[in-house]
């Protein structure tokens, strides 16, 4: 009986060892890429909405304050979605016949709410509270970065736990003067000199650093 393995089998063996290692790595890399991709996180993907509402137009170009529509951002956990009435407070006067706004008028006339597709969604076991963040000097655009550039609204972050922890571990990067919280022009993240000021604000605003990463700060 001749030899079962010829010398070329050595090469095949070596290649397959390397290939299997690479294969595992590749699978891992693909899985990781999918996980991190907008396909999974929906980051940067604008959802279709009944009305193509533009934050760019309303917030940046017209300069309407965030709180005009998101009324409970300083009072409650939720920032609040504007009732149809809020839309109609302007659009009963301007663009009254615009085709785009027909769903708004229909909603108001028929007393049927507009059904928006939710863009920012946290898991049910996360209890995020807008009011305390706003009160403690975290600006809107720190999380909703670039909202003023969006003709259609999409997530600018993954809104995963690592995003929350990034700020809860390094709040100095995001603390603003309290009168700049609703500013669209203040940088979303403090750098350089601003970072030094941010560090001072930790004591100034009584930020309880020891508590920020307690599990039950967010999970209940």
């Amino acid at each position: 009986m001749g030899q079962l393995f010829k010398p070329r089998h050595n090469s095949i063996a070596r290649v397959s060892i390397v290939a299997s290692v690479l294969g595992v790595l590749l699978i891992g890399a693909v899985a990781w890429t999918i996980r991190e991709s907008p396909y999974n996180s929906a980051k940067g993907i604008a959802l279709s909405q009944p009305i193509p509402f533009s934050h760019q137009h309303h917030a940046k170009e017209l300069g309407i304050d965030c709180r005009y529509c998101h009324t409970s951002v300083e009072k409650a956990a939720y920032a609040g979605m504007p009732p149809t009435h809020t839309c109609m407070s302007c659009h009963s006067q301007i663009w009254t016949n615009a085709k785009l706004l027909k769903p708004v008028r229909d909603s108001y006339r028929d007393d049927v709410p507009i059904h928006w597709n939710q863009v920012y969604r946290l898991p049910d076991y996360v209890y995020f509270n807008h009011s305390i963040h706003v009160q403690k000097g975290v600006g809107c655009t720190s999380c909703h970065t670039g909202i003023d550039q969006m003709a259609l609204t999409s997530k600018s972050r993954t809104f995963w736990m690592k995003d929350c922890l990034e700020c809860h571990r390094h709040p100095e990067k995001y603390l603003r003067p309290k009168d700049q919280v609703f500013s669209l022009t203040w940088p979303s993240e403090n750098t350089g000199l601003l970072l030094e000021e941010g560090k001072k604000r930790i004591t100034e605003y009584n930020i309880p650093m020891h508590r920020l990463t307690n599990c039950m700060t967010c999970h209940r």
């Binding site: 409970s72 009160q135 009584n206 307690n214 599990c215 209940r220």
Partner: protein
């Protein structure tokens, strides 16, 4: 050091929790040493091969889930804002509305927590005299009944769906004189309902109104009327009574002002350093009650012995049976004339009520500890309470139309009246009811009844204070309230209930500020004035002959489901009953000695029978041995064994009403008992989560409460026990923040279990069902343990609520492989559900056994409409996850956020945990022990303070105040 002191000051008392434990039976030993009783169903009858198969399959499934699970993206959801947002509504922030909970006609003020107009939780209304901010189990559970999927949803005419309009045509056809029209309703004190009834009587001169309650205080009121010559209501002043003697009356759990009376009683019982005085309570009873467990001296008597006892107390003698107890009671009463109170069970006969009234009168208690006001109930010429005369009218064919508003008389009426047979002789029968129950079946019309949280109304409290019932949600189904139906009977089909109420109160008193009354829940100035100058008619002598037979029977309402009224509520069904820790069943309670003489054991099914007329009536139920029960007697609880109406109540327990007659509402002198050859398993949690006989409930003397030293490690100079458990919280971190702690006073805990229900409502705790409870898988985060001390026949009884101890050096955290349980800086032992992989190591390592594991997806079994009750601020846990008391962290966080927004420290008492807020006696206090001025810091320094199993070095944040015994 600490322990040496303790042995000097406290006699070593042996406490036990069950008869098996006391006798240390083989079964008990076996049960105790099973490491995983919760795995009962898996470990029995499974061999190695089956095990491997199951393991293989589960591994495969786990792999599949991990792979699939990782690929699951969050589903798309909609945001649906308002079209016009109500001005005062902020989505996400709860709104509280003041309203009134009505039990047996009497109101207790409540505050209803609503989330986006969805009621989720009931709190007490601090402004209401019957609540003072606290609640009872029924109030807590009522929010779940609102969402009961078995509620009646549409009008039915002989089983066919119909409409209100069709029913109204029946009302329109009523004879103008009201001849042959009868209304049967439940007790009411509602001023607007009474006003409507008066108008009805005016419009229909021949109409008659009856009321019926299966468990009624009619005998008390009849006795008072006979004695004083007018209709009166009583107010007991427990705040003034130094000596209280109760003959079978459990005033702590079932009086008309139970929440208020429990508070007044406990206020006189709180022992603190510098204030050792407390009231004295003496109770004679058959079946152990909450009051009996609090008593200094508890006397076991057969139900027929109350006459003899009261006669002796009246005469001041103590000859014959029970002389020691009587001597003590008589001596104490004499020493505290004018500041004592003698009570007796409300169903006991009028003669006995009169004797007890006479005792109080001779002691000078009337006007001091026992006050009278004009009756809060309707006048007797307006509403007749005599069901027997209605039945005789029905039998003689005088009733053409019978309108039954609420209740289930076919089920609960005395058996001798044969209500069901009488009902057949009535022309048209309509039944307004929340469920399609035993009475509905025999009626032509079934009308859905609105829940209290969806209707307008009003009610008076025990002292006459009127309060409003306001709806917090629109009726879920096509239902109407009693008030609306009364208006419809009177021909008013269209006026909304709101207008009926507001019109009544505007005509009653123009000065009433409607908005203010609605906001506060209480209508100011409606409290009745005390009657003065009452003249007692001459007393004709006590009736003292006892005619008890060989085996007597006593009926009691169930402590959770009452007369059956709350049987549809799964929370109440699964709440372990205070004295037996049994849920989902009622029992034939007998004393161990009587059981031995009758050769009975736990769970043996027996048949109880008696002759009523010529018919032999029988019931069958499982025997359960109750330490402290009187000899030669058995007790059965009413309200069980429903056959219709609700999937929850069907099949649980047995119906005891067939043995109950008009003359024997409370006791039967002689009953036949026959042992049947079968067993019925009952779910008792008494021996679950045993702490193996360590010093759990501490008993101390009054002297110790003044001169002793706190045994809470770190407080009052007590040393920390040495421990190997790691320190999770460095002192420098702890100093920066609050240190949450809880104190539970065993002197004032009456064992009512309101805390458990409040916790269940607040923390989305699922109901698991009888079979799961038998496997020790109940999910309650706080439990109330029941301890006995002394002999098996006549033990003393103690209660101890056990929530998570929030140990500073928590043994559970040490063993968690995923750090799913860890420490927060303010000392909370956090539980992170999404990290938990379900090893249950933490639970095994917990010396207090307060951790609960979701063996099955219990929350999936919550029925769709009941999901509306869920508290949105607490995560719903799924299968395979450990959970436990969090000190209501959601309440801590919401208060903290508000305080931080205002840049101020959290005030003492600002955070109330659900159990603390609900507790009728304020036995639970929560706060920041780091603040030396806080209530909790002071309580930890009290001589009576101790921590549970402190020798383990766990340094619990939850501490107790020892029970003071004489």
């Amino acid at each position: 050091m600490n322990r040496d002191e303790s042995t000097e000051t406290t006699e070593t008392k042996r406490l036990w929790r069950s008869i098996d434990e006391l006798e240390n039976s083989i079964e008990y030993q076996h049960a105790l040493h099973r490491e995983f009783p919760v795995l009962a169903s898996i470990s029995e009858g499974i061999d190695r091969r089956d095990f491997l198969k199951v393991m293989g399959a589960s591994l495969g499934l786990a792999g599949a889930t991990v792979t699939l699970g990782a690929c699951t993206r969050m589903p798309m959801r909609k945001i649906v804002p308002y079209v016009n947002q109500p001005e005062d509504l902020i989505p996400g922030n709860p709104i509280f509305y003041a309203s009134t909970f009505v039990h047996r006609g009497l109101g207790t003020g409540i505050l209803v927590e609503t989330h986006e107009n969805r009621p989720t939780k009931i709190e007490g209304n601090p402004d209401h005299p019957a609540s003072l901010g606290s609640t009872d189990p029924w109030m807590q559970a009522s929010v779940l009944s609102l969402y009961d999927p078995d509620r009646s949803k549409v009008v039915k005419h002989r089983e066919d769906p119909s409409t209100w309009d069709e029913f109204f045509s029946v009302l329109r056809a009523l004879p103008p004189s009201g001849k042959g029209v009868r209304i049967l309703m439940e007790s009411t004190t509602s001023p607007s309902e009474i006003d409507l009834l008066a108008k009805l009587k005016h419009g229909y001169p021949e109409l008659k109104v009856y009321s019926f309650e299966a468990i009624s205080n009619r005998n008390v009121r009849e006795a008072d009327r006979a004695a004083f010559g007018e209709d009166l209501s009583r107010i007991y002043r427990f705040d003034r009574a130094k000596v209280i003697v109760s003959l079978g009356d459990d005033f702590l759990s079932r009086s008309d002002a139970r929440v208020r009376y429990a508070r007044d009683f406990a206020d006189q019982r709180r022992v603190r350093k510098g204030s050792p005085q407390r009231n004295l309570l003496y109770v004679a009873e058959t079946y152990p009650s909450l009051a009996g467990a609090m008593a200094e001296e508890r006397l076991r008597v057969r139900p027929s012995e109350f006459e003899a006892l009261s006669a002796q107390i009246l005469k001041g003698t103590h000859a014959g049976a029970h002389s020691a107890w009587l001597e003590l009671v008589v001596q104490k009463l004499k020493a505290h004339a004018g500041e004592s109170l003698v009570l007796c069970a409300e169903e006991l006969p009028q003669e006995l009520q009169r004797t007890v009234l006479e005792i109080n009168s001779r002691l000078g208690n009337i006007g001091k500890t026992m006050e009278f006001i004009p009756s809060v109930y309707p006048k007797t010429d307006l509403v007749t309470e005599d069901l027997a005369s209605l039945v005789s009218e029905m039998n003689s064919g005088q009733v053409q139309t019978l309108l039954i508003l609420g209740g289930d008389p076919t089920y609960s009426a005395p058996a001798d009246l044969e209500f069901r047979e009488a009902l057949k002789k009535v022309g048209t029968k309509a039944h307004l009811s929340a469920h399609f129950n035993d009475t509905s079946v025999f009626c032509d019309w079934h009308l859905p009844l609105s829940h209290g949280l969806e209707s307008w109304g009003d009610a008076r409290a025990f002292d006459g204070t009127a309060s409003l019932i306001q709806p917090v949600i629109a009726p879920l189904y096509e239902s109407k309230s009693v008030l609306e139906l009364l208006a419809a009977i009177g021909g008013n089909f269209s006026t909304p209930a709101h207008d009926l109420i507001s019109q009544y109160w505007n005509q009653y008193d123009k000065k009433i500020n409607w908005e203010h009354s609605l906001n506060r829940g209480v209508i100011e100035g409606t409290q009745f004035k005390l009657k003065s100058g009452l003249e007692l008619k001459p007393f004709e002598g006590a009736k003292s002959e006892a005619k008890g037979g060989d085996l007597e029977l006593q009926f009691l309402p169930d402590s959770m489901i009452w007369d059956g009224k709350y049987a549809d509520n799964p929370w109440l069904q699964e709440m372990p009953r205070p004295m037996t820790q049994i849920c989902w069943d009622n029992i034939v309670a007998v004393s161990p000695k009587t059981a031995a003489s009758l050769h009975l054991n736990n769970e043996d099914v027996v048949e109880l029978s008696r002759k009523i007329g010529v018919v032999e009536h029988k019931i069958q139920g499982p025997v359960y041995l109750v330490p402290g029960h009187a000899e030669q007697s058995v007790t059965v609880h009413l309200g069980w064994g429903r056959t219709r109406g609700s999937a929850v109540s069907e099949g649980s327990g047995f119906d005891a009403y067939p043995l109950r007659t008009s003359s024997d509402l409370f006791r039967v002198d002689s009953i036949q008992l026959k042992k049947l050859d079968r067993q019925h398993a009952v779910a008792a949690v008494q021996t679950h989560f045993n702490m193996e006989g360590r010093e759990i409930v501490r008993l101390e003397s009054v002297e110790f409460s003044q001169t002793g030293k706190s045994r809470v490690p770190g407080a009052g100079g007590a040393e920390f026990e040495p421990t190997l458990l790691p320190e999770y919280l460095p002192a420098e971190v702890a100093a920066k923040t609050e240190a949450w702690a809880m104190s539970i006073d065993l002197n004032t805990c009456i064992g009512c279990k309101t805390c458990m229900l409040a916790c269940q409502a607040e923390n989305n705790i699922p109901v698991v069902g009888k079979q799961q409870v038998i496997r020790t898988r109940e999910m309650h985060w706080i439990r109330v343990d029941h301890y006995f001390e002394g002999s098996i026949d006549d033990p003393k009884m103690y209660f101890q609520p056990v929530p998570c101890m929030q140990c500073e050096r928590a043994p559970c955290e040490l063993v968690c492989p995923t750090e799913a349980t860890n420490h927060s800086d303010d000392g909370l032992n956090q539980m992170v559900y999404n990290r938990c992989v379900g090893t249950r190591y933490c639970s095994n390592n917990c010396p207090y056994k307060v951790r609960r594991f979701n063996f099955l997806a219990y929350t999936k079994s919550i029925r769709p409409s009941e999901k509306l009750q869920a508290n949105p601020d607490v995560t719903i846990r799924s299968r395979g996850v450990m959970e436990k008391c969090t000190y209501c962290v959601q309440r801590i966080q919401s208060v903290r956020i508000e305080a931080e927004k205002e840049d101020r420290p959290i005030r003492d008492g600002e955070i109330k945990t659900a159990c603390e807020a609900a507790c009728p006696t304020q036995a639970i206090v929560f706060g920041n022990k780091g603040d030396p001025q806080s209530r909790i810091a002071k309580l930890r320094e009290e001589p009576l303070a101790y921590s549970l199993l402190s020798e383990l070095g766990t340094r619990p944040r939850t501490t107790y105040l020892a029970r003071v015994i004489t």
